[in-house]
């Protein structure tokens, strides 16, 4: 087995819903979707965002788009207008999730 960056398997977009960060993760190729579904569990995402996300992580599936939508509660320092962060709306949470390392078989090719 080897580890590759989620960035190689998916693209993403993030936004805010109050103090929750919404991160949509989309498979770069349709065949990656089942791998994303298997590896990106709410627990794995919660662990990855330790120190950022203080609430629960919810996951929703959109197989029609080859995508997963995550809601990270209490993850924006109080929400859009209250948060003191430079990224108060969590616009860059999209690439924060793509830093995750995903375990794949040694012969797994991403090109």
């Amino acid at each position: 087995m080897k580890k590759i960056l989620l960035l190689k398997l998916a693209h993403a977009r993030s936004g805010d819903k109050g103090d929750a960060s919404n991160i949509g993760v989309i498979a770069r190729k349709p065949e990656y979707f089942s791998l994303l579904r298997e590896k990106l569990t709410p627990e794995a995402v919660r662990k990855h965002f330790e120190g950022i996300c203080r609430g629960k992580v919810e996951r929703f599936e959109l197989p029609n788009l080859g995508a997963l939508n995550f809601l990270l509660h209490e993850a924006l320092g109080g929400g859009g207008t209250v948060s003191l962060r430079n990224d108060a709306q969590g616009k860059t949470m999209s690439t924060a999730i793509l830093r995750m390392e995903i375990e794949v078989p040694d012969d797994f090719e991403t090109r």
Partner: protein
């Protein structure tokens, strides 16, 4: 009653402050039937409410007037209709200002419709008195807690009141707090005669609205998958929904413009700011985003179809804003060598000085731009970096402490670590924190009002 089989609805603004030339491009670079523009974010209404309290002729998105100045002649000559929520908390005053522009430009026979009744700021005590506590959807608390600090309160209306204004002949429709998606759905209801129980069609219009509501973000802007591949972003074509009476929608843009409309740019926008995709709740319908089918139907042309919807809830969403203390943000730039270490030391010194003076904050937040302001604790420790921006922000209810923070920042330049610059902005000043209070209200308690006037 069906009037046409298909219409082209163009997105002109995704938010207040969006690309100012986009509306003119949308009405001049190719065929367009409707121009829709979103101006309102969650706390915008509180800013407008304050402007209105100072001057009863204000309280709407003033940038909209510059746009109207540019587009009125061409819109009027070509019969293009314009729908926007830029009316804010004073759509009537916005209408009068647009009529003034029309007179000056010699535009005749203009009919403007306003939709209002969404502003319930003056009715809060009456609602509380009759047992509607406007419970915060996130915290479960009654709005009584922040009653004396409320700055604005608005119900989100949907597409049907706008469609009614179109039915009455309005060429421009100005609303207060209408949903972004409703702006796009309204012309479909008007032109295709969709009824309130045609949930799949209404959901298709809502999905089109969600794709259009952030302007260029669905046509190649902020596109993560392969941003280098997007051509000519300088001339980005904002998205256009070519809607058909059977609920099929094609997303495209004007020929000859920059940007990109592909299945992947649309996917990214569909996932933006959503919660449970099976329950995208709007005043007209609950749309199911897991039913959406996408298909590339040509160059810069994506077919959106198969959308399912179900009956709406009995509630309007209410968006309220309240004052919640003060904040201030300041920055200093540290240069090589040991830039990050110096910035970190400066942060510690400042915290100690403020503590020694007895100041207290609800939150004291430090970031280092160039290192960790995007990904926080996920950011890998950098090797030697050339420079870093120390960014410190404080929030609290004691205004004096927030002011003291402002006085403590710049002195770091001569009383802290070396090689520091970037203090030209001077002392950071306390700003009001405007917090958001989401709630629900039974639809039976609020009625949209529609008024169409001719110049």
């Amino acid at each position: 009653m069906k009037k046409r089989d298909s219409i082209r609805i163009a997105s002109g603004q995704g938010y207040w402050g969006d690309l100012p030339q986009a509306p003119y491009w949308q009405v001049s670079k190719g065929p367009t039937d409707y121009l829709v523009m979103d101006y309102l974010a969650e706390v915008t209404m509180s800013i407008l409410q304050k402007q209105k309290s100072r001057d009863p002729r204000l309280g709407y998105a003033k940038d909209l007037l510059q746009v109207m100045e540019q587009i009125l002649p061409i819109v009027s000559a070509n019969g293009i209709k314009v729908i926007t929520n830029g009316g804010g908390v004073n759509p009537q005053a916005c209408r009068d200002a647009i009529f003034d522009i029309a007179k000056r430009l010699g535009v005749k026979g203009l009919k403007i419709g306003v939709v209002y009744g969404d502003d319930i700021y003056g009715r809060i005590d009456q609602l509380l008195g009759s047992g509607n506590d406007l419970i915060n959807m996130d915290t479960g608390e009654s709005v009584r807690k922040v009653r004396d600090r409320l700055l604005s309160a608005n119900v989100y209306f949907g597409a049907f009141p706008i469609a009614k204004a179109l039915e009455q002949g309005a060429q421009i429709v100005l609303t207060g707090r209408a949903t972004d998606t409703g702006l796009t759905l309204a012309p479909m209801i008007h032109e295709f005669g969709w009824g309130k129980d045609e949930f799949d069609n209404l959901a298709a219009g809502i999905v089109a609205g969600h794709i259009l509501e952030c302007g260029g973000q669905s046509s190649g802007g902020n596109y993560l998958k392969d941003w280098r591949s997007v051509p000519d972003l300088a001339n980005i074509g904002f998205p256009i929904a070519e809607a058909h009476a059977d609920g099929t929608v094609y997303i495209t843009k004007h020929d000859g413009t920059g940007g990109l409309v592909s299945v992947d740019t649309i996917k990214e926008q569909l996932l933006y700011e959503i919660g449970n995709p099976r329950e995208y709740i709007t005043p007209e319908v609950v749309a199911d985003f897991t039913s959406i089918q996408l298909e590339q139907a040509g160059e810069n042309r994506v077919k959106v179809f198969g959308v399912k919807g179900r009956a709406p809830t009995d509630f309007f969403k209410v968006s309220m804003a309240y004052s919640d203390g003060y904040y201030a943000i300041g920055t200093l730039t540290y240069g090589w060598p040991d830039a990050l270490e110096k910035a970190q030391a400066a942060d510690r010194i400042m915290r100690q000085r403020l503590q020694d003076l007895g100041h207290k904050f609800d939150e004291f937040h430090t970031e280092f731009l160039g290192y960790n302001s995007c990904h926080g604790p996920l950011s890998p420790q950098p090797a030697e970096i050339n420079e870093v921006v120390l960014r410190v922000a404080v929030r609290g209810h004691d205004k004096e402490s927030i002011e003291a923070f402002g006085r403590q920042l710049v002195p770091l330049v001569l009383t802290g670590p070396p090689t520091v610059t970037g203090f030209g902005g001077g002392r950071p000043k306390p700003q009001e924190v405007v917090a958001y209070w989401p709630a629900l209200l039974p639809k039976s308690l609020v009625k949209p009002e529609i008024e169409v006037a001719e110049l």
